[in-house]
């Protein structure tokens, strides 16, 4: 029993990080139609920047600083690489974002190095644990779950309750009509990139004590986030979060049921391939989950 709980929490933790990647991925995709394969790099940049800043400042300040810096990076990348493309093709955009992810990785390798780093635990240390149903759960797990839940909630409120958030959904729903309503879709695109980058950076910070951060840790996250986003139905932020949790749980329990841990990455990839072949519209985009269709 306690072992199941252990695996459950480990799956949930990983899953909520995939959810963060999927969230950023969907936010950019639905607002702009761009498949941003550099989404994982935002988490890496967030973690690495925070680790560096934490040498000079307390952790909360380092985290906030990292989020601000990466958010600005997201905006600058959009302005540099996407602003001038008037009607980019899907292939162009995929090449640009994959190229970007490689460049960011290389730059990170130069700025830092190939060493594995991590932020220290927000509360307690690697040995402290909280008892849940007989299993020992690291307090950092609750930091991750709480932070991700808060981000999801705030983003939902932003998209559904604020005028700018509604305008962002309008861009997703019908870009031309949104432009006709006076929405500068170029600026919305920048905003979507900044939001995604900031959310990613925060995710990268809270997970850093658990999974560590390295210059190339974004690549794996991008694939898993993409699998999560596909599972929820591309372009729909909230179902994508659910998709993330499912991918994380599937990964954890595939190990529990005897799959060699070295192959656990194959689980997400398997899910991705299965979704692409069987239900490319995502698990939840049929009639029975109407609420989901309204999320974007």
């Amino acid at each position: 029993m306690s072992q199941i709980v252990q695996f459950f929490f480990s799956g949930l933790t990983l899953g909520s990080i995939y959810a963060v990647v999927a969230l950023g991925f969907n936010l950019i995709y639905s607002t702009t139609g761009i498949l941003n394969f550099a989404q994982g790099e935002f988490l890496m940049l967030g973690g690495m920047t925070a680790v560096t800043l934490a040498r000079f400042t307390p952790i909360p300040v380092a985290v906030v600083g990292a989020v601000v810096i990466v958010t600005l990076c997201g905006g600058v990348l959009e302005i540099l690489f996407f602003r001038r493309l008037r009607r980019p093709t899907v292939l162009q955009m995929i090449i640009i974002t994959i190229g970007l992810s490689i460049v960011i990785r290389e730059v990170a390798l130069h700025v830092w190095d190939e060493k594995v780093r991590s932020l220290s635990y927000f509360t307690g240390n690697e040995c402290s644990s909280v008892r849940v149903l007989g299993a020992g759960i690291s307090p950092q797990v609750f930091w991750v779950l709480g932070t991700v839940a808060l981000v999801v909630l705030l983003l939902h409120l932003f998209l559904h309750r604020s005028l700018v958030g509604r305008a962002m959904r309008a861009c997703a729903s019908n870009p031309e009509a949104a432009m006709l309503a006076g929405i500068n879709t170029g600026r919305m695109r920048t905003l979507a990139f900044m939001l995604s980058a900031g959310i990613g950076a925060l995710g990268g910070c809270v997970i850093s004590p658990i999974t560590m951060t390295q210059y190339d840790s974004g690549a794996g996250l991008a694939i898993k986030g993409f699998a999560a986003a596909m599972l929820g139905g591309l372009g729909r932020p909230m179902p994508g979060v659910l998709g993330g949790l499912l991918v994380g749980l599937a990964e954890a329990f595939s190990v529990y049921f005897g799959m060699p841990a070295a192959y656990k990455d194959a689980t997400a990839f398997g899910i991705l391939v299965a979704v692409l072949f069987v239900r490319p519209q995502g698990l939840f985009s049929s009639g029975e989950l109407q609420a989901g269709a309204q999320e974007r």
């Binding site: 309008a170 729903s173 006709l180 309503a181």
Partner: protein, 238 residues
Amino acid sequence: MLRVRNLRTGYGSLEVIKGVSFHVAPGEVVALIGANGAGKTSLLSAVVGLLPPWDGQVVIGGRDATGAPPWESIASGVVLVPEGRRIFADMTVMENLQVGGYRNPDRDRLIDEMFDRFPRLRERRGQTAGTLSGGEQQMLAIARGLIARPRLLLLDEPSLGLAPLLVKEVFEVVRGLRDLGVTICMVEQNAVAALEIADRGYVLETGEIILEGVSEDLLRNPEVMRAYLGKGYREVWE
């Protein structure tokens, strides 16, 4: 209010607007008529900047707006209610209206006004816009445009695809706006009904204006019927 000079534009290398000039004076209702594929939608798209003009000039309220991005057209007081309504289908009626007033700080008051004008929309304010009937969606599209407080309203085929009774209702709405003094430029395939409301009209055929004049004259002109019915009609008669 709006003056278009020698406008040329198209898609890729295909030229669909071949040097069009027309104007709309303040307080006027102007009808743009022409058969399917004549280029009416493309012309309006070029006016608001959805389609970049190749050549020519678009002057809005005395200022050159040639090639300005679409989100700026609304700032200069021009609102296009696009063909096919283009409502935000997965957002609520209320949210559609709020986004329509994105640039208008006075939006809440105007939304109330729209609810008075279209009581059906008030009843359905919380409903997802995609679940409205075709007629209601058209009303929503018009209301969403009006919330931006246009000085010039461009309507692209507001009666397209609606049942006859609703077509009448849409024309009633346009008539009401005209009586309030809103300047309107309306694209219609329903030439007779459009000209009955309009002060003046232009007839567009394969990207060129072949006729223009006051509505009464156009309604009496056999050429209008020819343009209205398009090529098939011409082949029969020539």
